[in-house]
């Protein structure tokens, strides 16, 4: 088991000496997950709000689909997006395969159901008295909708944080769409997979520590948000 201990020590050296290869993977990960989370929030919060707030035909079916996609396997998203953005695919001309925006696009699809479903649930589970109260205070339809999303803000933030956690930790999409290209699309998770396969534990452990720290920060934010209520 010596190799684990020495790997851990060398991991610390890599992190604290600012090893460029290690930091490249970290920065790529943050780039991709930030892009995908922003895109999924822009689409998902209004989408989830509409799904939770309004009554319309097909709402139940859309909700069921969205809830099912919460458990979407990353490799399925990878396969699907690969088919679309590879040169033969309908979006092949954009040259997205093996690029950061390509991975971000696929990750957006992965976490979108999380944002949509959790936002819809947040809006649905608001107190029924809220609407009546706003009406009795003289609010119009637009003001009621706006205040409703504001009342759901803590739960919506929780949705965002949950989605972010999923984005930074997935490996399937990054591997299939990104191609694990060094200095370019290699992320924390694909790097760990590769280095471990090579028997290079140091960088794997270093990146594992970073990933765990990120998860810790994300969870700390969640806990703080919950406590604010």
């Amino acid at each position: 088991m010596d190799y684990l201990g020495s790997g851990f020590l060398r991991a610390l050296v890599l992190l604290f000496s600012g090893d460029p290869e290690t930091y490249s993977a970290i920065i790529t990960t943050l780039e991709i997950s930030t892009l995908s989370i922003v895109a999924s929030l822009i689409i998902g919060i209004p989408g989830g709000f509409v799904l939770g707030y309004f009554e319309f035909p097909g709402k139940r079916q859309i909700r069921t689909i969205s809830d099912t996609l919460l458990a979407l396997p990353t490799v399925v998203v990878g396969l699907f997006v690969y088919a679309f953005i590879s040169r033969r695919g309908p979006l092949g001309d954009f040259g997205l395969l093996f690029t950061v925006p390509g991975v971000a696009l696929a990750q957006t699809l992965l976490v979108l159901p999380i944002v949509v479903s959790l936002t819809a649930t947040a809006v649905e589970s608001l107190d029924r008295r809220l609407r009546l109260t706003l009406i009795t205070l003289g609010a119009n339809a637009r003001q009621i909708a706006l205040q409703t999303i504001l009342e759901a803000r803590f739960a919506v933030l929780t949705a965002a944080v949950t989605a972010y956690g999923r984005a930074i930790s997935e490996v399937g999409i990054s591997m299939m769409i990104g191609g694990n290209i060094k200095w370019h699309t290699r992320t924390i998770t694909t790097a760990v997979a590769l280095e471990t396969g090579k028997g290079e534990f140091a960088m794997g452990i270093a990146l594992g520590i970073v990933l765990l720290s990120l998860a810790l920060v994300v969870n700390a934010i969640l806990v703080t948000l919950r406590r604010k209520r």
Binding site: D127, R129, L130, L132, T133, I135, T136, L137, G138, A139, N140, Q143, Q147, L150, E151, R153, F154, R229
Partner: protein, 343 residues
Amino acid sequence: MTPAPLYRLSNLTFRYGTDGFALSIPEMDIEAGASIGLVGPNGGGKSTLLKLLAFLETPQEGAIFFQGKKVSGAGDPSVMRSVTILLQEPYLLQATVFENVAYGLRIRGEKEGVREKVADVLERVGLPYGEFGHRKWHQLSGGEAQRVALASRLILKPLALLLDEPTASVDPYSAYRIREAIVDVWKTFKTTLLVASHDEEWLNGSVDRIYKVHDGKIIGSGDENLLPGPWEPAPDSLWKKGLEGGRTIVAPPPPHRESTALLRGTDVDLYVSEWQEKKIENIIPGVITGMYMESFKGHLNIYVDIGGITILSVMAPERADHLRVLPGKKIWVAFPASALRWL
């Protein structure tokens, strides 16, 4: 020409579901500046009437006129903004007290002097701005939350302020502050008040007129006793209702065993002994549980527990003085069977 009343209800019928509970009011005017309390049992229609008057519900039949204009559907925005209702168990926004109270002004686009107005209405409900303005919604007791909810409606200076059970779950001090606040706005701004409450004593000190709402109908001006069934046959072609301790109320034959009888408080006399010269069917011993002066009318309301139900007797203060009524005193309530009317 006299101005149109604030509300005119005409041939109003409201039903929950197809054969559910119905409220029906053939004719009712509520003058601007009136102060009206609604009492009656749960499910009798008090809340429904308030929701109709707040235009949160739409009657199936008949019409509600507001300031002489017929209101249909959800009502137009200017009418909706002239009326506000404080529902039972109010909801506060997940924000500070200040933001809750200022919300109504904010959505009306008012920006001038908001802070002063908020401080003023909070003062009216006994919540000093300095202490409470920045508290979060979850840092308030039930009574404080209720008063914040009231303040957020007072700040709108509504023409009509409707309150549904405002004291149902609050502490006595909050109940007192709520009374002070609404009596104050009624006197100062001539706000029309409609208040539904179980607490008749609280209500009597808060409004100047009381209607009883029972079984979907407005049945009187509040000094009535309601005597629900079941009734059973008694000798001399009379019927009776059993009370605790073998006591009974004797009544003329009811339409149904479960019918409710109405007994005006002014028809109930009190005696200090059982012995009477006059022949009265009902002379029932009881204990005085409460009494207070109806300040607007100048007579005394005396409540007597006669075994499970409380009977209200309304009399002039001189008569009460003569009888030396005191809470806790044993007394006989007396009323002829013919004083009962069937609903």
